[in-house]
């Protein structure tokens, strides 16, 4: 009996690791997958009044989460709320309806917070 206890403990540890591999790691992968944002290049967005109109329309989208507006580079980034997705065409349409021209749309594997930090870091590096 005494020799079987360490084996039992090892089995339990292996089981726990296996469970982590099965249940936790895919969850982390899903979280990473959810950390996607839409980035739009917007012509004509040169002032905070312009940006405010765009922000207001995007905030009204049910799936829209954090938004970042980079006036210098004319970029709008929007991240979906957890568990939701954004329709890129719908987002671009909202920006056009606000009166601006969308010249490029891309999905990036970053959160809006990461895009904001990256943009500021690039600016400070110049």
């Amino acid at each position: 009996m005494q020799t079987r206890r360490p084996m039992s403990l090892a089995r339990h540890m292996m089981g726990a690791l296996a469970a982590a591999a099965v249940f936790v790691l895919p969850g982390a992968a899903l979280a990473a997958e959810a950390a996607q944002s839409l980035k739009l290049q917007v012509n004509g967005m040169v002032c905070s009044f312009c940006a405010q109109g765009i922000e207001k329309r995007l905030k009204a989208l049910p799936a829209a989460g954090p938004i970042f507006i980079d006036l210098r580079n004319k970029v709008v980034a929007v991240e979906p709320l957890p568990g939701q997705s954004l329709d890129a065409q719908k987002v671009a349409s909202e920006v056009r309806e606000a009166g601006y021209e969308v010249v490029a749309t891309e999905t990036v594997a970053q959160t809006v917070a990461q895009i904001r930090a990256e943009t500021r870091a690039a600016r400070q590096g110049r």
């Binding site: 905070s48 009044f49 312009c50 109109g53 507006i69 980079d70 210098r72 004319k74 606000a98 009166g99």
Partner: protein, 232 residues
Amino acid sequence: MNPLLRPGALRRCAFAALCGALSAAAPGAFALPMASEGSWMTMGDFNSAGERDLAVNHAVTGRDAFGLMATRWKEPVLHAGLHEQHHEREAAGLTYTRLLHRWNLPHAQANLWFVGSVGRAWGHGWAGDRSYVSPAVMADYETTRLYLGAGFEPKRGSGLRHDSTWVRAGFSFYEVDYEQVQPWFVIESKRVRYANATRDEVTPMLRLIHRGLFVELGRNREGTQFNFMWAY
């Protein structure tokens, strides 16, 4: 008789109070005279000499806004060739703002606007109210660092002429993030033609913009100038 009890005075007071309560104004020399669809814009121009414009409008589409305005101005009266006195005039009316065209460029935006207004005007030296009509056009070009604008706003009625023409140019001291306050230096040259006189003024101003709020503070021969716009 109490002057406020005169029929015309009462009507004028009620109209002015309504416009004032709604923060009403002449959409004079503003950069973007309307906000985005579904939003409100309140604008005001005030100077220490007693002239003022107030306006509010609501954007029913991305290109159309309807609103109210109220304005007060001082019209120079020529006497022996000298501007020795002035008549105070007031007007209040309805406005319609239309974005005629917008050019969205990679690093700039340009706009052509129509701002029409109809209403009533009254003031010293006039017997009673009179209607006015004001079809104004404005154009602007803006980048994150440069601003150019021009406009022509005629206001005409029986015995009334108040035609404003202005050009504006400015630059921002530096670029900012959307969340930050951006300071600008703007200079405005304005000519106002009245029925019997012309007035020119040049106003250098400091402009601060933060999200939907825009304020300008300047000074000219007439006194201190304060302008604001608030989009919400």
